[in-house]
């Protein structure tokens, strides 16, 4: 561990900031901050792009060094790119269509152009251990190839069309270490990339802030849900998170069951609510304390997404003592549920309706599942545990 004090730890990520959206983005920032507080010489190497939703050819932030929550952040400018060409190829990937070799080149070359970031990595490679997050962006693809022996990849891998591009085979093979969020993610890495023996592969998980308090009574009072049972969804509302499926299932459940339960939605993103509402309450974007209050007040938290590499929201739900209902086709969230015994899962409408009924009819049992989930989070994902695991991986990276 002493050798770690002699080296800088550089998180390399396409965008970075306090209020930028995205679970992986927030997890990156909190991990960098926690490792810095633990005494490591942590820096963030990123671009001047605002966030995922901005134009990746636009410099929103000023290039140079700044400090965010105690962590030095080096920003490098991006160059103009052919956004239209990238969008055309990306559209094909989003619709699971195959790409020609030329289209693959367009995809990676016209994504993010940050040559000065790569120059910096090249010039200072021996001073740093680099942590690239996540796998799919050009900052990772080009950056990790410069000094693979001093690079770890935190892939945040999902089973998706991007992951099946041959482009990423070398990346996963060359880096010194893979830092993974769940056993299911490790299995997916093995299936898709067959990493070489000797590569460090550590299932670390992600740290979760556990010091929040939610007031269930306040939420029910403020939002007029005093005696009404409700299922909560919190997060971006978009097809990628499978919220249309949740709305469809809830609409049918509400019609067929005659239940007085409500589905409460929290978070950004436009959604097409079914006509007549069907027991759906859309609160949109709410203050963060209201979100914690909602977790505490909910009878059940539902995450229909199949593309998760960790999922902070189910951890937050468990910390509030609320059981979860996840999509059984998502190996990661299902794994969390099974390990924690903290909730149920569904793979079709019949299971969705039956599991909702089962838990709403048994509030004491539901609370026990929530308590088991809380214990799982505290036993595995408190910051001191995660920081210790990161230190171990980084120390192993320094051994020849």
């Amino acid at each position: 561990m002493e050798a770690l004090a002699q080296v800088k730890i550089g998180f390399v990520t396409p965008w970075y900031g306090v209020d930028i959206p995205g679970g992986a983005e927030a997890a990156t920032r909190r991990t960098a901050e926690q490792l810095k507080q633990a005494g490591l010489d942590v820096e963030v190497l990123t671009t001047c792009i605002r966030d995922f939703y901005a134009d990746w050819g636009q410099n929103h932030y000023r290039a140079g060094l700044e400090t965010i929550n105690g962590v030095p952040v080096r920003r490098f400018p991006v160059e103009a790119r052919d956004r239209q060409a990238f969008d055309q190829v990306n559209w094909r990937l989003m619709h699971n269509l195959s790409l020609s070799p030329a289209q693959v080149q367009t995809y990676i070359e016209e994504m993010i152009r940050a040559p000065t970031l790569y120059d910096f990595i090249r010039e200072h490679a021996q001073e740093y251990l680099f942590l690239f997050i996540p796998y799919m962006f050009a900052t990772t693809y080009y950056g990790a190839r410069i000094a693979p022996g001093r690079s770890a990849l935190i892939p945040c891998l999902h089973d998706e069309s991007y992951a099946r591009l041959d482009l990423y085979q070398d990346l996963f093979h060359q880096v010194k270490a893979l830092i993974l969020h769940a056993d299911a993610e490790k299995e997916l890495v093995s299936d898709l990339f067959d990493p070489p023996p000797g590569q460090i592969q550590a299932v670390v998980g992600a740290g979760v802030d556990s010091d929040f308090h939610g007031d269930a009574g306040r939420f029910r009072q403020n939002y007029g849900l005093l005696d009404t049972p409700f299922v909560l969804y919190a997060g971006r509302r978009e097809p990628g998170k499978n919220t249309p499926l949740l709305l469809r299932y809830w609409q049918r459940y509400h019609q067929e069951s005659g239940s007085n339960a409500r589905l409460v939605l929290i978070g950004p993103g436009d959604i097409d609510l079914p006509a007549g509402q069907h027991g759906i309450i859309d609160l949109g974007f709410v203050p963060v304390q209201d979100k914690y209050d909602a977790f505490a007040a909910a009878d059940l938290f539902c995450l229909p997404s199949v593309h998760e590499s960790f999922s902070i929201v189910i951890m937050e739900s468990w910390l509030a003592g609320t059981p979860v209902l996840v999509n059984g086709h998502c190996a990661v969230t299902r794994e969390h549920c099974q390990k924690a015994n903290g909730g149920l899962y569904f793979t079709n409408y019949h299971e969705f309706a039956a599991t909702v009924d089962y838990l709403l009819a048994r509030p004491a049992l539901a609370r026990r599942l929530g308590a088991q989930g809380r214990r799982y989070v505290l036993d595995n994902f408190r910051w001191e545990i995660i920081v210790d695991k990161y230190k171990q991986v980084l120390a192993r990276m320094l051994t020849p």
């Binding site: 549920c337 099974q338 015994n341 903290g342 909730g343 149920l344 899962y345 793979t347 079709n348 019949h350 299971e351 039956a354 599991t355 089962y358 009819a361 048994r362 049992l365 026990r368 599942l369 308590a371 088991q372 214990r375």
Partner: protein
Amino acid sequence: MGVILGPNRVTQIGKEAKMANSEQEEQVDIEAIMQEIREQILAKKSALAPGGAPALRVRGERFPPEFYEHLYHAGLAYDQIEVKQHVSRSSVPLVGPLLQWLRGKLHELVLYYVNQLAVQQIAVNTHLLQALNILSEELEKLPEVEEK
């Protein structure tokens, strides 16, 4: 409703241990709940199916959990093979409606025979599932074979 305690339950050694591990001792096993729910779903499906549906065992000790999960999904899907008509709209000017009508009639004819096959396939699926279920129940009764 009794609480379902599963394999994660901690053996009670003594009062002190019980106090110290009270949370773990009362560990609720979600897989046991899922199996109970899945049995209810299949029973409901069986009650609604004309002529009934194969009674399937979706929990047991003999096989890995994946076996019972596959059996459950087969129980849900064994009769979901009827084909519905799907005729795309014709954009040909003037004769478009006529073309669409002809396509519809052609599809109806194909579906008439395909769905007859589907009925036969459902009968085969039912027998296969029943046979698989009997086999798994019989194996469940046998003692574990000791390793030589």
